[in-house]
Structure formats: structure tokens, C-alpha cells
């Protein structure tokens, strides 16, 4: 199961999607926006996706993980639209024969999802709003500039 959805994440459904009689281990990652982010009181979040490419990238990442580790099944789902603070916006679920692979693949997948899958977060906080990717890129440029000056 690879999708972007406006609905709250349904973890039991995701677990059924990765169910497999040869799976001894299932690892689930859920990402949630914290109420405080970088010192700002986050009120609301909104996610936008390039939906068709996002699900295509999720499938490609799952296929890459399955080449790297012996996995049974993978599911990746990301919410889009408004997400209340405290509710999960992304789930990565991996089943495998053994737990070391399930942990390693799940961790690798969420790292790659955050780098690669075309989804953007806009934070609405007290006093404003900001697209998060831009900010991170600007912060990275500022850090690079400071390093350059030393």
C-alpha cells in the first residue's frame, strides 16, 4: 500500500497490508508534528503532495529497500491537507522474517521518504506560516555560509 490520503492514518489497516505468514517481525514508524517546532507554537499543519510522483517514489523506495534487505512487505502512507498537531502525518510499515532487517529497512525508508518523496509541509504557527523545505534549505545555506567564513 503506497498512497497519499486526506484521511487519518489507519494503523490496523496498514498492519493487515503487510501481514505475511513468513513475517516474524513488523516495525511501524509514525511521524507526528510536535506542538513546539524550532521554538514556534505550531497551530496547524498542511501538507501538499505531487501525488502521482509521491506514490511512484514510495514504490521505488520500497523496491530499493527490498533489494537491500530480505523483507516481506512494505506500506507507506502520507497524509495531505490539514493535519491537526499531535496526529501522525506519515506511516512506514515493514514486515520481515527477522527484526534486524525490519528495523533497518523501516529507518532507512523514513529517512529516504523525508529526502525524496515530493511532499511539502506548511506550518501555521502563532504569528505566521512557513513552508518548511524552504526554511531548511535557507538554514542549510546560512550554516554553509558561516562555515565558509571561518
Amino acid at each position: 500500500m503506497f498512497r497519499v490520503t486526506k484521511a487519518p492514518l489507519d494503523v490496523p489497516r496498514l498492519l493487515r497490508a503487510v501481514g505475511d505468514p513468513r513475517a516474524g517481525a513488523t516495525v511501524v514508524f509514525l511521524g507526528t508534528t510536535r506542538r513546539e517546532n524550532a521554538g514556534r507554537a505550531v497551530v496547524r499543519l498542511e501538507y501538499e503532495a505531487y501525488a502521482s510522483m509521491a506514490t511512484a517514489e514510495m514504490r521505488r523506495l520500497a523496491a530499493a529497500a527490498a533489494r537491500r534487505w530480505p523483507l516481506r512487505k512494505v506500506a507507506i502512507v502520507h497524509r495531505i491537507g490539514p493535519v491537526p498537531v499531535g496526529e501522525a502525518s506519515v506511516a512506514v510499515v515493514v514486515s520481515a522474517g527477522h527484526r534486524a532487517e525490519a528495523f533497518a529497512a523501516c529507518h532507512w525508508l523514513i529517512d529516504r521518504v523525508k529526502e525524496i518523496v515530493p511532499i511539502w509541509k506548511k506550518e501555521h504557527f502563532r504569528g505566521g506560516e512557513a513552508w518548511i523545505g524552504l526554511q531548511r534549505a535557507a538554514a542549510a545555506r546560512r550554516r554553509a555560509a558561516r562555515r565558509g567564513r571561518r
Binding site: L30, Y47, Y50, S52, H78, I110, P118, W120, W131, L134
Partner: protein, 79 residues
């Protein structure tokens, strides 16, 4: 030839969701972006990534007729 443009996140806010555009044969995705920036210089501040037909590409990727060309800032999904 004609390509379909798509913009996301802050670029969608500034440029709208996209549309059709005519480009000369052999135009690269980077040259197309430079043409867009020439029309709207404030876009020059945005660090942009390129995708053609739902796959990431580099600036030098040559466009083909009917390509879907997406421009967007660094991604920030994942919770």
C-alpha cells in the same frame, strides 16, 4: 513542441498549479526554468528541484514533446 508545467508548494502559490507551454526542441529542463525566472525574477531566490514524467532529473535533462515537467522546492514531508 509543448510540455505540461506543474508547480508545487511555494512555487504553486506564486505561479499557480501550472499549464501548457511551448518550448524549442532540445530545450533542457534547466533552460526552461531559467526562462521562467527571467519572466519572474523573484523566483531566482527559490532553490528548485526538477522532475520530468514523475522522475527527478538534473538541469541538463532535454525535454521531449508532451513531457510533464514539475518544479518544486526541497521536499519536507515525513512528519
Amino acid at each position: 513542441m509543448r510540455v505540461r508545467l506543474r508547480f508545487f508548494a511555494v512555487l504553486r502559490e506564486r505561479l499557480g498549479p501550472g499549464g501548457e507551454r511551448s518550448v524549442a526542441a532540445g530545450t533542457t529542463v534547466g533552460a526552461l526554468w531559467d526562462a521562467l525566472v527571467a519572466e519572474r525574477p523573484e523566483l531566482g531566490a527559490v532553490r528548485v528541484r526538477y522532475a520530468v514524467n514523475e522522475r527527478y532529473v538534473e538541469r541538463g535533462h532535454p525535454l521531449a514533446d508532451r513531457d510533464e515537467v514539475a518544479f518544486f522546492p526541497p521536499v519536507s514531508g515525513g512528519g
